[in-house]
């Protein structure tokens, strides 16, 4: 598999990480090496194997639909970058 600089920029865009041309070029070299390592997986035939997503085969626990959290809005917002009137502020999204 061969990656290109434009692939790296596209992935960075999907991951919401700003990246400039120089960083993208440097990253390309490193990612290509890592993907060569990963490529060794393809040598094994796994056509009849079930994927294993988790170490323990447990089912999702359910609980009663009860309020378990107390209101700690002020505490949680005290560490936010920007808040006003109990709201988290972000740049305007809708015109």
């Amino acid at each position: 598999m061969t990656l290109s600089v434009s692939d790296v920029k596209r992935i960075a865009d999907l991951a919401y990480i700003e990246i400039d041309d120089n960083e993208a070029k440097e990253t390309l070299t490193q990612l290509s090496g890592i993907f060569n390592l990963i490529e060794s997986m393809q040598a094994v035939d796994t056509s009849t194997v079930e994927p294993m997503s988790h170490a323990q085969s447990v089912v999702q626990r359910l609980r009663e639909d009860e309020v378990t959290e107390t209101d700690q809005r002020e505490l949680y917002q005290s560490i936010a970058p920007q808040v006003e009137a109990g709201l988290y502020l972000v740049p305007q999204v809708i015109e």
Partner: protein
């Protein structure tokens, strides 16, 4: 006192030979003196630690003390602790004072243990040398030119340099065991699901597991007794009966079958490590154990599989760091998307970005089956190898790392060489099995060597027994660099 075991400290505290306040002050003083050299701690907060020590002294006076009451424990900076700066080794969280306690922190608090400080670590636990920390690398106390390992490098250094009697770590691909080996201490990653992940900042959720790091297996047992237990706030926490992990420490090892995977005793292991492991296995034979060769044919695939699954889960987990509710936000930006992009570009270091990009790619449209699903299928084959191996043996042993600690800067420019540091350790995360490292000697440049002990699911008590019997017969674990 700095070399005392947890049991000895507990006896001294219970017998009022020393108060927790005095003990805590002594360690704080030692940290103040030596941390500038080692950089093992990111945050020390004397007021918070001493307040806990005073509370512990009251518990002791009231006759309510448990085995860890009043004992200072260094907490990895991945565990959220209320009122403590909790950075996860990242600029992204350089201003994050946690508003709540992780499940693990709660358990130590309830036991009356004292949080002696937050230890340095690779950024978001992504690294094997502690060099990816935003707060600078940690030094290996045995040789300051060497890395301490990672990601729990600060924890390993703190225990080895006797800056704390014990510490917590987390292990996603070897992050407890590899630094324990490189710093000459003991550390265990329990079976996946035994230690709460609530408030433990997530890296790769299906692999992450917290565990203790200490001077001896006996200390690890006492720490596991406090750290493990069901937590409904962690969706993968296991509901099991409470165990005493120290219950089997004294059992003789006669008849124990130790499996030696031929794939782990192959090319790649350095001579000094091979020789120390051989001597340790001889000691086990003297203790009555027998060794059998086993095979884990898919073991060499653990690293490629790990470097698909861990980054995939990380890219998802780390999407929460967007500069909105907490953490770093860029100073200037043009719109919301630009704010995300700049905040994340500035807040994350190069290794974290690299892994997010790998993860984003392998989960992206058109590549999901070829990489992510393929890796999950191989994960099952690796787990099956272990299940078959346990038909022939009770426990598996090998080296924790292929070499002794490498030099600071030696591998930091080459991610693949760095990733291969975890060649023996990452399989236990993929399978969820418990695994530990204990010190078994010294190699090149007098740097420590660790023996890797992998157990079957929930066999922690047996593994600690196996490690403890070795530690009764040898003194590698009591050697200290200071």
């Amino acid at each position: 006192m700095f070399n005392a075991s947890l049991k000895q400290l507990s006896i001294q505290l219970a017998g009022k030979k020393i108060s927790s306040t005095e003990l805590t002050s002594e360690f704080l003083q030692r940290i103040k003196q030596l941390n500038p050299e080692y950089n093992a701690f990111i945050t020390v907060n004397e007021d918070l630690s001493l307040a806990q020590a005073r509370a512990a002294d009251q518990m002791i006076a009231a006759g309510q003390a448990g085995p860890l009451t009043g004992i200072p424990i260094a907490q990895k900076d991945i565990f959220c602790a209320k009122g403590w700066l909790t950075t996860c080794g990242s600029k992204m969280l350089s201003n994050f004072v946690s508003p709540y306690d992780a499940g693990v922190i709660e358990r130590f608090n309830q036991a009356g243990a004292v949080n002696i400080g937050k230890t340095n670590m690779d950024e978001f636990a992504m690294g094997s040398s502690n060099e990816t920390s935003y707060y600078g690398p940690v030094k290996n106390p045995w040789d300051q030119a060497a890395v301490p390992g990672g990601s729990s490098g600060g924890a390993a250094c703190a225990v080895a340099a006797r800056l704390a009697p014990a510490a917590t770590g987390t292990d996603t691909g070897g992050s407890i065991r590899q630094p324990a080996a490189l710093c000459g201490i003991s550390g265990i990653k329990p079976t996946y699901g035994l230690v709460s992940r609530y408030g433990m900042i997530a890296f790769a959720s299906s692999l992450d597991q917290g565990g203790p790091m200490a001077k001896s297996a006996e200390d690890l047992a006492l720490l596991l007794n406090v750290m493990t237990g069901f937590d409904p706030r962690d969706s993968t926490s296991l509901q099991r009966d409470v165990e005493d992990y120290a219950r089997d420490l004294q059992k003789p090892l006669a008849g124990l079958r130790i499996g030696l995977p031929k794939e782990y005793f192959a090319a790649g292991m350095s001579n000094d490590v091979a020789s120390a492991i051989d001597k340790a296995l001889d000691e086990y034979r003297k203790l009555g154990a027998q060794t059998v060769e086993i095979s884990l044919p898919n073991a060499p695939l653990a690293i490629p599989v790990y470097y698909v699954l861990a980054p995939a889960e990380a890219s998802s987990n780390l999407s929460r760091f967007d500069g909105v509710r907490y953490g770093h936000r860029a100073e200037s930006y043009s719109d919301l998307a630009d704010m995300y992009r700049k905040s994340r570009a500035q807040g994350f270091g190069p290794e974290v970005k690299r892994r997010i990009l790998i993860g984003t790619y392998v989960l992206s449209h058109g590549y999901y089956d070829a990489y992510y699903i393929k890796a999950q299928k191989l994960r099952r084959l690796i787990a099956q190898d272990f299940a078959e191996a346990y038909q022939q043996c009770d426990i598996i042993m090998g080296p924790t790392t292929p070499t002794v600690a490498f030099n600071l800067g030696e591998k930091s420019g080459d991610p693949i060489q760095m990733y291969l540091s975890d060649i023996y350790t990452s399989a236990a995360n993929l399978t969820g099995m418990p695994a530990m490292s204990i010190p078994v000697g010294f190699g090149d440049k007098n740097r420590p060597i660790g023996l890797h002990i992998i157990g079957n699911y929930f066999k922690e008590a047996q593994m600690l027994n196996v490690a403890h019997q070795y530690q009764l017969a040898t003194d590698w674990h009591s050697r200290s660099p200071v």
